[in-house]
């Protein structure tokens, strides 16, 4: 026996919406009482995709026995922004800004995971200084993320913004650092394949040091308000327990997995980057409930402060970018790679398949099929100069039997006439010519063709 309870429709009154009152969500019933022979009378509530909790758009059809959730059916897809399809249509580096937006609180670690996957695919190494900087930024992101999540947890428990305000106060300090380094508070787009985009200057490092030195005091204050708090403990202990076997089988990673007692932290398991050099512990929970997940994050923040102290103290000199990593004309061989790191929320991995193609080379290959008696000539544009790809494009032309002129000229003879093909220098100026050489010349897509004897 089940009764349908639907909210009564208000009488229409000049513009007051009445359409769609009976069906507020695509699934149909939104609140209804259900009788289950095992559980008695239950309430099925459709929560979302807009709901008061601060966890984004997500729809849950929950079946409640009082305050206990007996069954939950999730509905996804409300923020499916098809990063994969967009990635198919753009270059490798062009996908980097999209990775910022995957887990939008932690853009630095998303960037790093994608950079790791591409570096595995292309076989690129990263200089030591860049690895240290990546660790520093990842641990700052971890601090930011865990602080915010503790704030959001309290917000959803009903604290109405006070712990969140303290959390965001600290987040703002970290975002100031990110903004001065990468130009953006949240969507940093900072990691590159083979290193980082910009070398942090000395005063940035000094500010980071100040922030890290003061973070422990904030953590003490935060914990004093929350960890031993009677209401927090009553609301979160014993709630949402997850067993270790279920967590592993369901592919749960990160603090939620460690809260069930499974010692699985990719910083230790994979030992990527320079993490093996740092001395830090991995906190583990015992019950797998909400309180354990909260405590794991607090303890991880303290460990992150330790890692940051070590990284800032041991930051070596050197390049911030692998000089062999070319940004332009980046063409990994055909193959695939799966790269992963431990993001603040858990494992974040990217799986890339390359077919080894390069659109520029495809174009050059097509051009080389032209049948022209005097050969095919080309010259570099200013983009090749900026990207230090001039040698690459010359080598590619040579492979296809074409000539690329670099600040040089080539005399040509055709049917008794002589003329020359010139390429401009990087500044676009023509080289000096001997008297009697061609005076009229015009640019053909960057190369100039000069005709002798015409004034």
């Amino acid at each position: 026996m089940s009764t349908e309870i639907t909210p009564s429709a208000s009488p229409a009154a000049g513009g007051f919406p009445t359409s769609g009152m009976q069906d507020l969500s695509p699934g149909g019933a939104h609140v209804r009482a259900v009788h289950d022979e095992f559980h008695g009378d239950l309430l099925e509530v459709s929560m979302g995709p807009h709901h008061p909790s601060t966890h984004g758009v997500f729809r849950m059809v929950v079946t409640l026995d009082g305050e206990r959730i007996v069954k939950l059916k999730p509905v996804f897809g409300y923020l499916h922004r098809n990063h994969e399809k967009l990635g198919e249509g753009t270059s490798y580096l062009g996908s980097m800004p999209y990775t910022d937006r995957l887990d939008y609180l932690c853009s630095m670690t998303n960037n790093w995971a994608y950079a790791v996957a591409v570096e595995k695919l292309a076989g690129l190494t990263v200089p030591e200084r860049a690895e240290y900087v990546r660790v520093i930024l990842a641990e700052l992101t971890r601090l930011l993320n865990h602080t915010c999540l503790a704030g959001f947890l309290m917000q959803d428990c009903g604290c109405s913004g006070t712990p969140l305000m303290y959390a965001f106060r600290e987040r703002e300090k970290i975002l100031d650092l990110f903004e001065s380094l990468s130009g953006s508070r949240m969507m940093c787009n900072y990691q590159r394949f083979g290193g980082c985009r910009v070398d942090p200057p000395a005063d940035w490092l000094a500010r980071a040091q100040t922030l890290v030195d003061g973070y422990t005091a904030f953590l003490d204050e935060f914990e004093a308000l929350l960890t031993g708090n009677e209401i927090v403990m009553a609301r979160t202990q014993g709630v949402g327990c997850m067993s270790a076997a279920l967590a592993v089988s369901a592919g749960v990673t990160g603090p939620a997995l460690r809260a069930t007692g499974v010692a699985h932290d990719l910083r230790k398991v994979d030992g990527y980057g320079v993490y093996p050099r740092f001395n830090f512990r991995v906190p583990l929970g015992a019950h797998g409930d909400v309180y354990d997940r909260y405590m794991i994050r607090v303890l991880e923040m303290r460990e992150s402060v330790g890692i940051l102290q070590q990284a800032l103290a041991g930051l070596p000199g050197g390049p911030i970018m692998n000089p062999a990593a070319k940004l332009r004309g980046f063409r990994p061989k055909a193959g695939e790679a799966y790269g992963r790191i431990e993001g603040p929320k858990g494992e974040i991995g990217f799986y890339l398949i390359s077919d080894g193609s390069d659109p520029l080379e495809d174009c050059v290959a097509e051009l080389s099929k032209l049948r022209v008696p005097l050969g095919i000539w080309g010259c570099n544009g200013n983009h090749e100069g900026y990207a230090d790809a001039e040698d690459d494009s010359q080598e590619m032309f040579q492979r296809y039997g074409m000539r690329l002129l670099r600040q040089s000229a080539a005399p040509l003879e055709c049917r008794g006439g002589r003329f020359g093909v010139d390429s401009p220098g990087r500044a676009g100026r023509l080289r000096a010519r001997a008297p009697g050489e061609g005076l009229i010349c015009w640019r053909v897509n960057g190369a100039t063709v000069s005709l002798p004897g015409v004034s």
Binding site: G15, S19, G20, Y78, H80, F168, M186
Partner: protein
């Protein structure tokens, strides 16, 4: 009801200040009404994606949206004045956004915060991404950025307040909630086989007539 044409108040600012010093405020009904409305805009607790985090940051201590009157973010659309569409609106989410908009009582306003809400943003070529929420609901203020800084949101809010203060309370230019002849309900799109049906609200969404922008004379 007879329309009383507004007359110019034959009183100088100095005299007005003098009266105020004695505790007497002299103003017009429209000004008072708009001042009250614009200084107490309560947004809906509605965040979709990354811009929502900057919206929350705008409500936190460093930027503090409360000093502009948006003290509380209401969780229920029945109690909210402002819908800040912050984040990418996907086609799956679009009917729900329109439903929320319909559930908000008049006077209501909409701010499209961020590139995704304005036009689809960086995900514009997506098969699940709606190319701007103004395809289905009327937008008052557009705030560009990806994400816009909290200061940009505050600037947009101030612009909205200026817009509200400029509204008349009678006549043909009165806002929607003061006109009995307007139907404020926006039709809710349905899930079709390949796209939303209809893909846009043709009354609200009217792009310019030419594919390329002609230069001004």
């Amino acid at each position: 009801m007879d329309q009383i044409a507004p007359t110019t108040v034959p009183i100088t600012d100095a005299e007005r200040d003098e009266l105020r010093r004695h505790g007497i405020l002299l103003t017009g009904l429209e000004e008072l009404y708009n001042w009250g409305r614009s200084r107490s805009v309560w947004p809906l607790n509605f965040g979709l994606a990354c811009c929502a985090i900057e919206m929350i940051a705008a409500s936190m201590a460093k930027f503090d949206i409360a000093r502009f009157g948006s003290e509380v973010f209401r969780p229920s659309p029945r109690q909210a004045d402002l819908l800040i569409v912050s984040g990418t609106v996907t086609k799956k989410m679009a009917p729900q956004v329109v439903r929320l908009w319909n559930q908000m009582p008049e006077p209501k306003f909409c701010i499209a915060m961020g590139a995704c809400a304005i036009s689809g943003g960086p995900f514009k070529q997506g098969y699940n991404v709606l190319k701007g929420i103004d395809r289905f609901i009327p937008v008052d203020i557009y705030i560009p950025g990806c994400p816009p800084r909290p200061e940009a949101l505050l600037h947009g809010l101030v612009q909205l307040q200026e817009k509200m203060r400029g509204q008349t309370i009678s006549g043909p230019d009165a806002p929607r909630h003061l006109r009995a002849d307007l139907d404020c309900d926006c039709p809710i799109p349905e899930f079709g086989e390949h796209d939303l049906e209809p893909p846009q609200n043709d009354i609200l969404f009217q792009p310019p007539a030419s594919p390329v922008r002609t230069p001004k004379a």
